[in-house]
């Protein structure tokens, strides 16, 4: 794919970056918060996709990394650590946790893996709630007050762009290919010399890094979290719904899905206070029934994505 074919793509990217950078001077803080949340969810959706889409193991417990990152950052900030150090330690903790749980969890496959990781969230939520002295229990934890919206906004943008670039190059690396091969057929992949256990563990660890980092940024901006707000169903499921709706196993899929869902939330959910989970559930059921490949693999969006030169991985759900 030479760069002339990708010209419109570069143009769009530069335009978007310019708008995002200038947004604090163009819009009210409500819009900033909206973009901040979009970045948080999109980072989660993209990092979920490394395990859920590339590796093919549905990690429903992806938000444990997010919650662990958020709680670690909050506790360290309260103990007077600098933000950079707190975020770094949060990433280390979440990555170490992912490495440890990967050993037993990857002995499960398919739906069992999905449900077990889903159970992991409630396990960590119970532990966090019960360790009252450290975490403030079910009442939640506050960080030192202050308005960090502007720096947090830029930080979140940097994190989400970094995750996008990383996810793009990961799919084109040898490691990424190994993950795809595990998804297609783990036994064959192993017999071709792919160290499947190591790579699965690595994939889980890698996907925990952006999630925990964005968790730290989230709590830095929000200055308050509770077990429910970071381990709840909403934060666990919406990134996954975004990734699945957009299309898993591609970098563009989660981007499409996240923007779509955020827009729907903006226009619909502010008007309907009930049935948010019902809507998520209905979207999930319809996706499962009619297009498990997601939006980017539908006949209307696929040509567009391919024209932008991002379509390499898009054929995956077509073959059977």
């Amino acid at each position: 794919m030479n760069w002339i074919q990708k010209k419109p793509f570069y143009f769009i990217v530069i335009l978007l970056l310019g708008v995002l950078a200038a947004l604090p001077w163009l819009a009210v803080s409500y819009t900033l918060t909206l973009v901040f949340f979009l970045s948080v969810y999109l980072t989660l959706a993209l990092s979920y996709d490394i395990v859920g889409g590339y590796l093919g193991y549905m990690n429903l417990g992806h938000s444990t990394s997010f919650g662990l990152g958020a709680y670690t950052t909050a506790i360290l900030l309260n103990h007077g650590f600098s933000l950079i150090l707190a975020l770094g330690l949060a990433i280390l903790l979440a990555a170490a946790f992912a490495a440890i749980v990967s050993y037993p969890l990857f002995r499960l496959r398919g739906a069992y893996f999905a449900l077990a990781t889903f159970g992991l969230i409630s396990l960590i939520e119970v532990v966090v709630t019960n360790l009252r002295d450290l975490t403030g229990g079910s009442g939640g934890i506050s960080t030192p007050p202050g308005n960090n919206l502007l720096p947090a906004y830029y930080l979140a943008i940097v994190v989400v762009l970094g995750t996008m670039v990383f996810s793009y190059y990961l799919a084109r690396s040898q490691f990424g290919l190994a993950l795809f091969s595990i998804r297609e057929d783990e036994e064959v992949s192993r017999s071709f010399g792919v160290p499947t256990s190591l790579y699965k563990c690595l994939a889980l660890v890698i996907s925990s890094v952006p999630a925990s980092l964005v968790g730290g940024v989230y709590v830095w901006n929000m200055t308050y979290i509770s077990p429910h707000s970071v381990f709840g169903l909403e934060i666990a499921l919406s990134p996954i719904v975004m990734a699945m709706l957009g299309g898993t196993g591609t970098m563009v899929g989660p981007v499409f899905g996240a923007i779509f869902i955020t827009l729907v939330q903006e226009f619909l959910w502010t008007k309907v206070p009930y049935f948010h989970l019902t809507m998520y559930g209905t979207v999930l059921v319809l996706l499962g029934l009619f297009m498990p490949g997601g939006l980017v693999r539908t006949q209307w969006v696929r040509p567009l994505v391919q024209r932008l030169g991002l379509g390499e991985e898009i054929e995956y759900f077509k073959k059977s």
């Binding site: 429903l60 077990a116 119970v126 699945m244 559930g281 999930l284 759900f317």
Partner: protein, 290 residues
């Protein structure tokens, strides 16, 4: 000390019996359909609410309701299967997996959210009890004892059903080899639908007992599904004995944890057991290595 321990064991075994019954429903569904029903806990919750309604509105004895909900939920389960799971049953394995997780998880969220909306009371329980028995210092609630006997009776008749009847044999046949079952002419769709209905009905029936002993909330479904999965993995896939034993182990472990470490820690024990069994014996206690 000792009476306390025995008391705990009795309580745990009873809880475990309820777990085992519902977990077996999950296990046969997975065996036949190759789909893990993430909405399984929701059906237990719905069964529990139905038991509550039958008890408060009609004064129906829980033992009768536990039987009465079975046909209702078999029909509901067959409907669920035909509407949501049959359309995806012919897909290749990875797509089937993704689609089935999406569908059952989505259905579970819908059920949970709608129930929570229409069921205004957050917590529900019924007061049904018979006089207690005093056996050499150990007080045993005779309700609980009867329920346990009833559950073993259900498990026994289920075992007979699976061993002796045509449908039961087909269920076991499909679990062992889908291709082989097709070759000998077993009606796959019919048996799958019936199995799903049966699995769901077992969960609902367990739910009726659940509401006699504990309180029920509309949001308990997903944590329960996770527990059942832990039991199924613990006991070994597709094994009735395994599910019952796994359920008993979890029930006892939960009541011991609640007693020695405090009730707030008992939700963690299912997961710890899961991790332990995966490290020590990944195929489960009664499972066979592939």
């Amino acid at each position: 000390m000792l009476p306390d321990l025995i008391q705990l064991l009795v309580g745990g075994i009873l809880l475990g019996g309820i777990y085992g019954l519902a977990a077996f429903g999950l296990s046969i569904t997975f065996g036949v359909l190759n789909v893990l029903n993430l909405a399984h806990g929701e059906f237990l919750m719905l069964g529990a609410l139905m038991g509550y309604v039958l008890f408060t509105a009609l004064g129906l004895n829980p033992f009768i309701s536990a039987i009465a909900v079975i046909p209702i939920f078999i029909i509901a389960g067959i409907g669920f299967y035909l509407l949501l799971l049959k359309p995806i049953s012919e897909k290749p394995p990875h797509q089937l997996l993704v689609a089935s997780i999406l569908i059952t998880l989505g259905a579970s969220l819908v059920i949970e959210d709608l129930t929570a909306f229409f069921w205004e009371r957050p917590v529900t329980g019924i007061a049904y009890s018979l006089p207690s028995l005093d056996l050499a210092g150990v007080v045993v609630s005779s309700t609980r004892l009867l329920i346990l006997l009833f559950i073993f009776f259900l498990a026994f008749s289920l075992q007979l059903y699976l061993k002796k009847t045509y449908i039961g044999k087909s269920i076991r046949g499909i679990t062992q080899c889908l291709e082989g079952a097709k070759v000998v002419g077993i009606p796959i769709v019919l048996v799958s639908a019936l199995t799903f209905g049966l699995g769901v009905a077992l969960a609902a029936s367990a739910g009726v007992f659940y509401v006699t002993l504990f309180t029920v909330t509309p949001v308990m479904g997903i944590p329960l599904s996770v527990k059942y999965m832990c039991i199924v993995v613990l006991g070994g896939l597709g094994s009735l004995v395994g599910s019952v034993v796994g359920g008993l182990i979890l029930g006892v472990a939960e009541s011991l944890t609640a007693y020695y470490f405090g009730a707030e820690w008992s939700p963690t024990i299912a997961f710890i057991l899961l991790i332990l069994i995966l490290i020590v014996k990944p195929e489960g206690l009664f499972g066979t290595k592939e």
